[in-house]
């Protein structure tokens, strides 16, 4: 039983990791034809950063993800607070709307965004990408922040008001210190969703507004090259970094509630 258990878990783990590890390994291969191993090299990373298209895609990814994450974090946090604080008629509908972006297949979201922007005659570009990203990020931020809010005793806001806190003091002294870990992990989740997103960006991007995933998709369709391996490794790096910060935030929050 014990051997069975360990071998199954080991198999699952290798299945999940090995292909990606091989990919990363190949990004350091000196050979142009990714088949044989011809020694360790950073040349494909250099090549990756020499291509103006790649650099533009990187810059676009940065602009889109940072702006959309900031906006979605603010909006999502506000919504979480509002849902925690107020009871009102039709709250179930708001909850449904909140889960829509989580549950609607991405393809449907993507085409509906395209249809919407065409209908309002917006020019597709970075702005439309950002607007679309915010729309699907908000829910994830709200759900993350709300998960943290639910750990608190009810009435904390009322208690603060009772003790004389105005709106600013309430935010500064109570909500921000309590919610900071939740807001940060929500923001990081939103960030990674934006950075990794392909479909919605693909449908709402104008010509020349490729982000990294869209650029990668175009390159992959052309064939396997060491440059794409390097791009992949870069994408993974960003994901790991985000995950790492997120886990650290949660851990410090759990260790000391301060």
């Amino acid at each position: 039983m014990k051997t069975l258990r360990i071998s199954l878990l080991a198999a699952v783990l290798s299945f999940l990791y090995l292909p990606v590890l091989v990919l990363i390994l190949y990004s350091f291969n000196a050979s142009r034809f990714a088949a044989g191993w011809e020694g360790f090299s950073f040349r494909w990373y250099e090549a990756m950063f020499r291509s103006p298209e790649n650099l533009r895609a990187l810059a676009n990814t940065g602009i889109v993800s940072v702006i959309s994450t900031l906006c979605a974090t603010v909006l999502g946090t506000l919504l979480a607070l509002g849902l925690y604080r107020y009871r009102f008629r039709g709250k179930e509908w708001v909850e449904t709307l909140l889960y829509l972006p989580v549950i609607v297949p991405e393809m449907v979201t993507a085409v509906s965004m395209l249809a919407f922007f065409v209908a309002i005659q917006a020019t597709l570009g970075k702005t439309t990408i950002i607007l679309a990203h915010i729309a699907f990020q908000i829910s994830f931020v709200t759900l993350t922040v709300r998960a943290r809010l639910q750990h608190f005793p009810a009435n904390l806001i009322e208690a603060a008001r009772d003790l004389g806190a105005g709106t600013q003091a309430l935010g500064r002294e109570v909500l921000w210190p309590l919610l900071r870990p939740g807001i940060i992990s929500g923001a990081l989740l939103a960030f990674s969703l934006s950075v990794d997103d392909f479909l919605i960006t693909y449908f709402t991007a104008g010509v020349g507004d490729s982000t990294l995933p869209v650029r990668m998709y175009a390159l992959i369709r052309r064939g396997v090259t060491p440059e794409v391996n390097a791009l992949s490794a870069l994408m993974l790096m960003v994901s790991f970094l985000t995950l790492f910060i997120s886990l650290r935030t949660v851990r410090t929050a759990n260790e000391s509630p301060r």
Binding site: F15, V20, Y86, M107, V108, A147, I220, V228
Partner: protein
Amino acid sequence: MRLSSNRLLTLGLPMAYLGVFFAIPLAIVLIYSVLTPGDYGGIVWAWSWEGYAGLLSADLAVILLRSLRVAGLATLICMVIGFPAAWFISQLPLRAQTVWMFLLSIPAWMNLLVKNYAWIVLLRREGLVNQVLGVLGVETPPEWLYHEGAVLLGLVHTYLPFMILPLYSALERLDLRLLEAARDLGANGFQVWLRVVLPQCAAGLWAGFLLVCIPAFGAFLTPDLLGGANSTMIGTLIQQQFLMGRNWPLGSAMSVSVMLLVWLALVVFRKAAGKSGEPSLI
């Protein structure tokens, strides 16, 4: 109402955003699905059931059935691998559980494109797998990529963590004394599983089902990159209607049907989860 400005800020602003940039776009797709396709893409404002009529064509039925089959199979495989994996982890000492769940949640954060591309690197004709096979003396290895099997592999690889995570959180909460109680009352091993373990983690199973089946059903990248001409799925078809075939009403009608199927799955989920405690989607 006092504090109405706060209420407007905390509820009104984000809700307005979600309404305008999420609900209205979905509504537009719903409307487009009953309009007439334009000659060069876009739509003409005239009622028409052409979009939905197009759904009934034989080609489309094949693709729809394939999407259901592939998504269903992917979910089933994820469950078959994921359930014992989650069960084994939940039986480990607490520290080991944390480590294993950490290791299993990292792949959930990996980029979908990268995960799919990794299989291309491994499995293409001159890829690593075939090289190894060549060294071992296999001269004509099978074609690994560009068919339904490859799509299935890619989907399972992508979504397996999303099956294990909710299953684990359900199994972790399982009260082991219940198993002992069931044994004490004369249940055999199989009965304990069927009558005690499964019902207790029904919510986890359903959450896993939704987290795997819905995205797999609407998948675009995996069939596009790993599949071939004969393994097109509904996601690709929708994309083609909007970006290539330029039949927006047909694409919208497909999107609406996909939404209907998802909605159906959710209703069933609600019923099932309602019976066995909190749904845990995130």
